[in-house]
Amino acid sequence: MLGIIRRRIGFGGSYASTLERCLHKMQPALSASRCYSSAAKEMTVREALNSALDEEMSADPKVFLMGEEVGEYQGAYKISKGLLEKYGPERVLDTPITEAGFAGIGVGAAYYGLKPVVEFMTFNFSMQAIDHIINSAAKSNYMSAGQISVPIVFRGPNGAAAGVGAQHSQCYAAWYASCPGLKVLTPYSSEDARGLLKAAIRDPDPVVFLENELLYGESFPVPAEVLDSSFCLPIGKAKIEREGKDVTITAFSRMVGFALQAAEILAKEGISAEVINLRSIRPLDRPTINASVRKTNRLVTVEEGFPQHGIGAEICTSVVTESFGYLDAPVERIAGADVPMPYAANLERMAVPQVEDIVRAAKRACYRSDRMAAAA
């Protein structure tokens, strides 16, 4: 009997969902799915990144920062504020607007054993330097059979901002994540930003660190342990931001926030969504994703980038090959529109996934068998 109820959960009024609603009323803090042991301090993503850079530069004299406007301008997005003053021009270097040149110089410095953090003002400009990221950095350890390791971090904002048009809005997660030899990280919250950037800087391999401009100003509560200078998050592990049992929603970067909002809305309609913050696109945490889908039997992947050959496609393949028998509905994919990003505000809004898109897809994933019945 319980089994039938689970499948028709979207209808509401069933015993299980009523119970859930009562639970939600009783423990609102729990429903936010963030359990903090102590009173949390608030920190913006910008502050998180700045403090992570500061601490890692302080801990290891081989770490240095290089990029356009990172020094005297205090960072194009103020991520490197105060660092020039603290560490001097030998460790915080303003470069000319020559990505291919300075990315190559960064990789060469990494070959020699330094630990560069190369900032791209946005990852759209990383295309100027992509040969160095892929051919000079990612593949070197393999081609040299371990002689030349490349402990470099390429970081900067990725994906859509607001009204910046087609050439400044692309998401590069899928591009870089397809390349063996690279690690690709996508923080969402301040905790993610701090922990993952520290992990990236300490990591001996080339890491592409995809931030998001619209998240820089967002504030998140951070528990005390996150503020410690030794705090670090593991690379390759996703985080279950919100536990659920009806449908799994995977997301990364800004879309995690949208997925969480969607989960709130879905909860009110009796659908318990499990939201996974991928954190790491390469390595992709396939075990966590598959375990979740084996629990919920339904999957919605959410990403900001272009749909074709994107992150959702890889997640779908993983689930179909590893957990096919557990799927009760086809995998749903929400992605950016398959168009160069338009400028007009209404078109731009249509080109980026919105919360209602995620809600609709999750409902489709849950109503699938019912819709077929309705059609018949």
């Binding site: 020559t98 040149g101 190559g104 040299s144």
Partner: protein, 400 residues
């Protein structure tokens, strides 16, 4: 094939005869044959032609050397020459696959550079890297094994001809993308300066790569930040099949740095190369980047799939071989200074041949990499993540 006037003019420049200035200030008494160990006698030898400077005063064309050094030059270059010719045969026998870019003719650049620097200085080059690898301390077995894709190769067979490295002796590869090695080399120089090591980096590139934008981007930064980087244009006058005058509006590569000084060097004269590199190292440590243009020549085509005679005449190739061959130049110097007899030099060449043959035989016996090696060295730290072969259900590995 009809050569245009411009081609004829440039061809004649290549055949500039050696002014074999064999004058020296030491006495020409017949020496006992301990030349290979004599590093006390100083020989002062004039380079074939003077250096030409761009925004810098060139060094003297009188180069100091010793019998030991000259004999060493002969042996090293003979070994390199023999190695490259052997690689040609191996490629034609299909034991070497893919790309194979041979350096014969250009040996003086690798050997002369090595004589001027230490193993703490860094060298980075493109894909024509077999001889540079050898000069930096690599051995023949590592070379031939790598070329044949065996596990005893310097990159365990996973790199191939274009990806030789010897980091602990200051050789950073071995790069397949034309021009990429120049920013990388400036990065090495950055690190050397960052560490306050007092060492320099030589980043070599060809006349084809000399037009790459990233080179100028890196040079700009190197000049702004005073990096101890020396950019060495190994101008063999052909970028693959395109002659320099067809690719560069200004083929005076030593001047292309504009605000960065440059020196033009006869790259077929090992002593000139040594002098220039010595000068460059001192200069770069004090003043930042410098460009060296080595006027050199490759006898083979661009790679083994290029006969090398569709865009240049056989006369030109044999003409350079006759007039400017680097090994012949040193041979004449050794004989005229009576540092060794003709027979001794021939014996050296015979020994070199044997050394190469032995290394090839040994390399042929070496095993191919174990299949498990396919998934090693992708990362330094793999976090236990899985990697897959073409069929993930069939081939998967855990990355340590």
């Amino acid at each position: 094939m009809v050569l245009t006037r411009a081609a004829k003019a440039s061809r004649s420049k290549l055949l500039r005869p050696l002014t074999t200035s064999l004058s020296s200030t030491s006495s020409s008494l017949r020496r006992p044959f301990s030349s290979t160990t004599d590093d006390q006698t100083v020989l002062s030898i004039e380079t074939s032609i003077p250096f030409t400077g761009h925004k810098v005063d060139p060094p003297s064309r009188i180069v100091e050397t010793t019998p030991k050094e000259l004999m060493g030059f002969f042996c090293d270059m003979a070994l390199m020459r023999r190695m490259e010719i052997a690689a040609d045969s191996l490629y034609k026998a299909k034991l070497i696959r893919g790309f194979c870019h041979l350096y014969d003719g250009q040996e003086a650049v690798a050997v002369g550079m090595e004589a001027a620097i230490t193993k703490k200085d860094a060298i980075i080059t493109a894909y024509r890297d077999h001889c540079t690898f050898l000069a930096r301390g690599g051995n023949l077995l590592e070379v031939f094994s790598e070329l044949m894709g065996r596990t005893t190769g310097c990159s365990k067979g996973k790199g191939g001809s274009m990806h030789f490295y010897k980091k602990e002796q200051g050789f950073f590869g071995g790069h397949g993308i034309v021009g990429a090695q120049v920013p990388l080399g400036c990065g090495l120089a950055f690190a050397q300066k960052f560490n306050k090591e007092g060492t320099v980096t030589f980043a070599s590139y060809g006349d084809g790569a000399a037009n790459q934008g990233q080179l100028f981007e890196a040079l700009n930064i190197a000049a702004l930040w005073d990096l101890p980087a020396i950019l060495v244009c190994e101008n063999n006058h052909y970028g693959m099949g395109t002659a320099e005058w067809r690719a560069a509006k200004s083929p005076s590569y030593y001047k292309r740095g504009d605000y960065v000084p440059g020196l033009k060097v006869d790259g077929m004269d090992v002593l000139a190369v040594k002098q220039a590199c010595k000068f460059a190292k001192e200069y770069a440590l004090k003043n930042g980047p410098l460009i060296l243009e080595m006027d050199t020549y490759r006898y083979h085509g661009h790679s083994m799939s290029d006969p090398g005679s569709t865009y240049r005449t056989r006369d030109e190739i044999s003409g350079v071989r006759q007039e400017r061959d680097p090994i012949e130049r040193v041979r004449k110097l050794i004989l005229s200074h009576e540092l060794a007899s003709e027979k001794e030099l021939k014996d050296i060449e015979k020994n070199v041949r044997k050394e190469v043959d032995d290394a090839i035989a040994k390399a042929k016996e070496s095993p191919m990499p174990d299949p498990s090696e396919m998934f090693t060295n992708i990362y330094v730290k793999g976090y236990g993540v899985e990697a897959f072969g073409p069929d993930k259900k069939e081939m998967r590995a855990v990355l340590p």
